[in-house]
């Protein structure tokens, strides 16, 4: 019986926490092993012919321009903030969606709840828009 089988088969509630910790450790160990084996294997097998183009920084296929340490325009941060805001909003909607069906009799109020939440966020977007935060100028 392997370690993973032990984790799956044992129904003992008291030891669940320990077993979960073990399974996480196993995943972590396997991940580490995979990374090392893959790199070592490719190091052994691959030909090595360096050139200037190959040594350059990889930037998703485009040619990198300038140095990495340059000032980012402050407008990027406003976009980033708005993006994070709505990203987190989606993260909040997942647990809401998950329990929505389980709460019979309260669905209408849950819907109103989440609509209030969304309306406030949409109001924020409209506000940023009206204030010109989305314009590049």
């Amino acid at each position: 019986m392997t370690l993973v089988d032990t984790v799956i088969s044992r129904g003992n509630i008291e030891s669940t926490m320990t077993n979960q910790a073990i399974s996480i450790a196993v995943f972590f160990g396997l991940g580490l092993l995979f990374w090392m084996v893959a790199l070592a294997a490719s190091h052994l097998v691959r030909p090595r012919r360096p050139s200037a183009a190959k040594e350059a920084t990889y930037e998703c296929g485009t040619v990198p321009v300038g140095r990495a340490w340059y000032q980012v325009h402050v407008r990027y941060y406003i976009y980033a903030l708005l993006f994070v805001l709505f990203d987190v909003e989606v993260a909040f909607l997942y647990p809401w969606a998950a329990i929505f069906r389980r709460l019979d009799g309260f669905t209408l109020f849950l819907l109103i709840d989440v609509l209030i939440f969304l309306l406030i966020l949409v109001f924020g977007l409209v506000y940023a828009w009206r204030k010109g935060a989305l314009e590049w100028e």
């Binding site: 509630i13 926490m17 329990i99 709460l103 309260f106 109020f109 109001f123």
Partner: protein, 569 residues
Amino acid sequence: MNVEYLAIAKLFLPEIVLTVGALLLLGIDLCLGKRDTRRALVLLGAVISLAAACVALLQWDWRPAEAQYVRQAAVTSAVQRMAPAVGRDALTHAARISERDARAVTTAYKAARHDSLVESAATPPADGAPVMGIAPYDAGLSSPSFSAWWLFTADNFALIFKAIFALALALALLLSTRFPVARYRGEFAALLMFAAVGLMVMVGSLDLVGIFLGLELASLCCYALAAWHKQDARSAEAGTKYLLLGSLASAIFIYGASLFFVEYGSTHLHVLAHGAAQSPLTLVALLMVLVSFLFKVAGAPFHLWAPDVYQGAPTAMVAFLSTAGKAAGFAVLVRVLSAHGFQAFSEKWLLLFIGVAALSILIGNLVAIHQNNVKRLLAYSGVAQAGYVLIGLVAMADPAGGTLLNEALPLTAVIFYLAAYMVMNIGAFAVVGIVGRESGGEELSAFAGLRARAPVLAFAFTLLLLSLGGIPLLSGFVGKWYLFLAGVYQGQYLLVLIGTTMSVVSMYYYLLVIKQMYILPAADGAQPIRVGALAAAGLAAITLVTVAIGIYPGPLYTLAQAAAKSLMP
């Protein structure tokens, strides 16, 4: 409309009023042009905050304390029945909680809200089925309203602080009607209102997670407000410092809360109170939570951010932060410390509090003497005031290790002082704001000859400074009197001695400002100072209240006592 939902809404009425008001304000702000002055908008914000204060006081529970105890006992017993076997293994037992247990607790909670059923809810269930600490979050699934009752409360203790915040907000908004950049007045007001909502959530919460939620809402607004003057290097410095140190304090708090969760499988204060044992982990977690709030109230040695932030941030925001923010920090400290289980080993954290109180009083007063900038001077004086309030918190603890809070005086003194301090400190910052705007600086020399330039302003400032120093017949004296009295009753003679001695020292630097205003001549070419009608009205009200409380403290004391008693088990 579902009755349960209305019941939940009642828990958050002042918050809802403020939130809707702030959104309304932002909506109107959008429709205005870039050149509108927006003064009426800020005034509307002040009116809305006054309405929120009224709502908080209308919710006040006027019944005798005994009736409140019964209800509170029912709620507490319902909560604590969830966690009789708290301990490290509470998490692993969570799976055993049956549907029936969850329903039983929900019923107990519902019953606890209706006074006629209180008795039945207070008695433990016949079968006494153990329900573990994590149950409430499962039980919440059987009724959405349950989680709200579990996490939040609107007892008198929370309500008096909500009223304090709303009043501080109204006064701070009156101050900012002449805020320099007209285009951003609406946003400024709305951010202050959201910060107040965060503080209200904080004092109403019974769970460390709820407290964290409110803390972050308030802090995020305050970070933005501190860095408000974008072109000013000092304001940017204030914002950066406050952001970095404030998030550090928040991180320490949430780490402490997570350690509590490891120990008890819950972060609810009733659960922690019920099961707090003198384990090292509990002590570390408790210290982390306490230290993060000592940071928020700017008690030495956690005060280093305060002078820089106070100096650089907009004055209206500082007026709000230094009063409402401080009061909220103390309210949470009191809520955490009043839990029985923590009182059981009070001799451990008491040492921390005595040390911080003594250090705050000494450092605050001695360093304030050397300050040239009046805002920095008031910041250090605020550190010292935090030390005085901490004497009241120290007096709350029972060194014998028994039940605490059997004597209402210490907590009453704390609440009384925080309310009185809110009024006089906002007034002091109001004067500093007006003088700073008209003479272009908050240096001591900017106040020279204020007697001739603005006699009424100088008179009001003198009264407020004397009150801060603790001169009889003003509210500051009465507040300090109760605090020191509570300290003496608990045998903290050394601490009270430091407090009284240093109060005398504090008079020196308050009188330095008064000397500038009344004895030294105005600088050449100094103009008379114009005071706006709204700010003048606000300042007049503040001064009158300061004198009124000093002469006749009875009503406020009764209110504070009722709030203190509502927190008693």
